[in-house]
């Protein structure tokens, strides 16, 4: 009975890990679409989001089955509830990658980003993708080694986001209001994506150590 339970729990973790991979790919493609005004890539992300939503439903069904059939208690129960939260966070990451792709599509064939802010988004994209992959790894292995690095990367994301605003608000900003509005929203999407990845990692830390590291800002 216990073995079957652990097997099902591993199966659930595996699904969440796969989901992290899906949203990492989505953000990678969306960022490339944004930087290179690649319409086809943007479309791929937009159509691909339903797969993330489906994976979330699968994860939830598994979680329900675990709760209903195995009636877990204490720690095991926390794990299943955390998995349900985690699936919600990862689905939201997929939505945010989708928003980035939609911005790329809306302006196509015009580039969304003026050249001086493009490097910010290249770097925010890289960090976001890396956070999602690390979160997926943590979900699967429950190895907390990456947790500290993830917090540092999230701080780096916040710094980039803040700097981005100083660029926009600089009086010498030559591109006018339209691009500034797009960039404001895009910056926020990347920042929130990172927040959700870190929230997933924090839940794993909580499961393993029994302690929540810092406030859950998501």
């Amino acid at each position: 009975m216990r073995d079957a339970y652990l097997e099902q729990l591993d199966g659930l973790a595996e699904i969440l890990s796969v989901m992290c991979g899906q949203v990492a790919d989505a953000l990678e493609k969306a960022t490339k679409a944004l930087l290179e005004s690649d319409l086809q890539l943007a479309e791929e992300v937009i159509t691909g989001d339903t797969l993330v939503d489906e994976t979330r439903s699968t994860a939830e069904e598994r979680a329900f089955a675990l709760l209903a059939l195995q009636a877990p208690v204490a720690t095991d129960l926390r794990i299943v509830v955390s998995a349900i939260h985690g699936a919600g966070d990862i689905e939201r990451m997929g939505d945010l990658a989708l928003h980035v792709a939609q911005a790329a599509r809306r302006r196509h064939p015009q580039p969304v980003l003026p050249p001086e802010v493009a490097p910010y988004f290249a770097e925010m994209g890289r960090i976001g993708v890396d956070l999602a992959r690390k979160a997926g790894e943590m979900v699967r292995t429950r190895d907390l080694a990456a947790a500290t690095a993830m917090e540092a990367e999230d701080d780096a994301m916040d710094d980039l986001h803040r700097h981005l605003f100083t660029v926009l608000m600089d009086h010498s900003w030559p591109h006018g209001v339209g691009p500034a509005v797009d960039i404001t929203l895009l910056g926020r999407f990347y920042e929130r994506y990172a927040d959700h990845a870190v929230a997933v990692a924090r839940r794993i830390v909580f499961i393993v150590t029994g302690q929540m590291p810092g406030p859950l800002m998501v």
């Binding site: 709760l67 926009l168 404001t184």
Partner: protein, 225 residues
Amino acid sequence: MATVPLEQRRAEIAELLEQMCTAAGAALRTATVALREERPRLAERVLAGDAAIDELRAEVERQAVTAMALNAPVAGDLRTLVAAIRCAGDIERMGDLATHIARSVQRGRPVPDEARAVFVQMGEMGAEMADHAAEVARTRNVVLALELDRTDDIVDGYLRDVFELTLDPAWGHGVEAAVDVTLLARYYERFADHAVAVAKQVVYMVTGQPVEQVAAELDGGAAEA
């Protein structure tokens, strides 16, 4: 110690969710008044009140997890408990978004009048949606929940209004104000999204079906009648 019966536990959770929604709605109202009247000290009150909403969320989660562990809930009850945990997450986020608006007020940069007028409407609408969600959480009334689900389009309309203002060539307030206004619009929109998410959860919790399906069936039924 005797186990609290599930029915009682569920009623307590519903009451906590109702309180949370009411508190989030009040936070948005206060934040919006602070925005309208440029009152940073009033905004401070929103920031100070957020911890209470966070604490209510933790309490919902504790109660739901305890019920799962001790009351051996079956399918439908389990769905209710999980949905309650999710609703609590959404409502906590509504509180956070009200604090984002409050912080924006505290930064003290003026919001152009024409944008402010839209935010006053978005704030009133969002707060009403939170009150509506409170009633949905309390009554678990699917028809009320579906009404809330339908208000989403109105909020999207306001959001478009704000973007059109900033993109209008006549916008004379510069980039800085446009950035602030864009973020504020987003906070109001997300607040409303989360209120709608609560309604969707309640529909799912009561019917076991996704909201789109229930809405379609009801519409179909109305067409036949």
